[in-house]
Symmetry: C2
Subunit: 348 residues, 2 copies
């Protein structure tokens, strides 16, 4: 057990980003180590998550019911893999590895009941923020509860290597589907096919991307597991098979926009396509599916332990680089699910 530092470094917002965040929108500040009350635990962060949804939480224009906008000067929110350094909770001991919504800071005080145990026998710590964490559970819920994907159907997965996409794609493959992914470089697409088992993966930056989607899905798309939005969404929509399902999980391409993009207004086209195609479009929020976690950990965790399921994190080192890590993720410069390692004296 390492000693507790004298101060708590917190990665905060200096100002709200205007479009793509810039590094100086973020600022590290120092604060006191929090005190803990009965039932609470003090944790030090080992890994922070950097997920697309966090961009939504630092935008005043997208303030939404379940997650009010992060105040300036407060640590940026998000899940973290943590080690307990002090405990006033009956069932949690110092030294335990846990995950919880600690935010972007060295230390956090949380109620012990709000933490989940992290099982190092399943996968390294970092994977518990990705394939075995909230993104993985999101993918599992979408594929198992909403997609209704049948043997031989074509499943389309945008952000194919991301925290959600990589799990959705592999699960679809295990369900006997033909899986077509989209990523942002030829190299990532090769990885998706060679390592994750995608039947095809298309580089959305290629000039003939639209034609490639049609060619890769000759019979049409049965399930679009949407993580991107924007042009990738429209490319998939044009290729949906009748009665296809569209799972709206993430829309990262628009998360830097403070206002609706310029016209024309394509929403009538979208509604018309849904009607004519008898499509079913479903919204997915992982918070509805916490009860699936035990089954998810057993199934996906078991496959990761046995090497039958791939997980890849893009690891950035140092709390001070978390803002840069988010910018790189939003611009597609990551390769795998982005996490930030905060300390170097803990297991991987």
């Amino acid at each position: 057990m390492s000693a507790v530092n004298a101060v708590n470094r917190q990665m905060t917002l200096r100002r709200y980003p205007d479009g793509v965040p810039r590094e100086d929108d973020f600022a590290v500040i120092e604060s006191a180590i929090p005190e803990i009350a009965d039932g609470e635990v003090l944790c030090r962060a080992i890994y922070l998550t950097v997920d697309p949804y966090i961009r939504v939480h630092i935008s005043p224009s997208m303030s939404i019911g379940y997650a009010p906008t992060t105040p300036l000067g407060a640590p940026i929110p998000g899940e973290a893999v943590l080690q307990v350094v002090r405990s006033r909770h009956a069932k949690i001991r110092e030294g335990d590895y846990v995950a919880g919504f600690g935010g972007w800071q060295d230390y956090c005080a949380l109620h012990g009941d709000a933490l989940r145990a992290v099982d190092l026998s399943l996968a390294p710590l970092s994977a518990h923020l990705g394939s075995l964490g909230m993104p993985g559970l999101t993918a599992y819920a979408g594929m198992r509860k909403l997609a209704d994907a049948k043997l031989g159907e074509t499943v389309f997965v945008s952000a194919a290597l991301g925290g959600v996409g990589a799990v959705a794609g592999q699960l679809a493959k295990l369900q006997g589907c033909r899986v077509v992914g989209v990523s942002s470089s030829a190299e990532k697409c090769r990885y998706a096919v060679d390592e994750l088992g995608y039947d095809a993966c298309l580089d959305r930056t290629a000039p003939d991307f639209l034609g490639q989607v049609a060619a890769a899905c000759p019979g049409g798309i049965d399930v679009n597991f949407e993580n991107a939005g924007g042009e990738v969404f429209w490319a998939a929509l044009q290729n949906m098979k009748a009665y296809g399902r569209v799972i709206i999980c993430g829309l990262v391409s628009g998360y830097n926009d403070d206002a609706p993009p310029p016209g024309p207004d394509l929403s009538p086209n979208l509604l018309r396509t849904i009607a004519l195609g008898r499509l079913v479009v479903k919204g997915l929020m992982v918070a509805d599916y916490w009860d699936l976690r035990p089954a998810f950990l057993q199934e996906v965790g078991g496959m990761i332990r046995e090497g039958r399921f791939k997980t890849r994190e893009y690891v950035v080192t140092g709390l001070e680089n978390a803002g840069r890590a988010m910018i790189d993720m939003l611009e597609g410069r990551n390769f795998g699910k982005t996490v930030v390692r905060i300390t170097d004296d803990a297991p991987l």
Copy 2:
């Protein structure tokens, strides 16, 4: 049995409408009475239907797979209530009342197997194009197969007095839902409440329409049965309850548009609202549900016969006025489901 006339009048397109159709976009022409082959029947039209979807069929920019654009000079397509005047089909006799896709013309030749019988004991002939016809079956399919409306839930119905809306609203009420309609005048809204049993009906032309929607749906909308699109759709979307269902049946507000409306592009907002609200948006096409017709006729037809279910047609007289009837319908000047009566020597 009336004698067959010497010529067949057909209501055709002189040119494709640019925006809202004008009366001189339409032209009556005369052609020969068609010959019939074995299995076919010659019918005279008694009532033609004037439904929003017909506007789509006379627009080259909206040509869609299931219904290619109507050629200039050809009769405008649509269902009709017909009387058989000559039959070369074993099971159909002269004098029978039937319904089929005869289009906007005095006479049509159709294969007897493509016709459906019309049961005058259930409702007057005109109702077989409305509440007991394709619009009614559309509403029945949407409410029974897609809406998943539960007791006490709030169902929102745009175009509340239309061929589809009036049936959807009454079915929702019979299922124990709270039903809020939208129409285009205070008088129609009174009819919806007093006669059709809507719990509330809102005039979409009222200056505070948006506020009225929120006030009429204090707990939010569980099911939006969408017939209109446009501003009415967005008003409903903003008031959807979490896990609400949106049935995309019709989008009449946009049927006069040859191109997407100007920006901003609201499609990202739409997708975001679906995701955050965990909404389920489903496309509805009646052609998927012909097998429901017997149950539909028994149930809804039975209630109409017993006076427990209201049906109201807006009857325009004369084939030559069918174009005007369509214009009036698209601009909301009809009161009930629009039909055109072609002949005056048949029962109502």
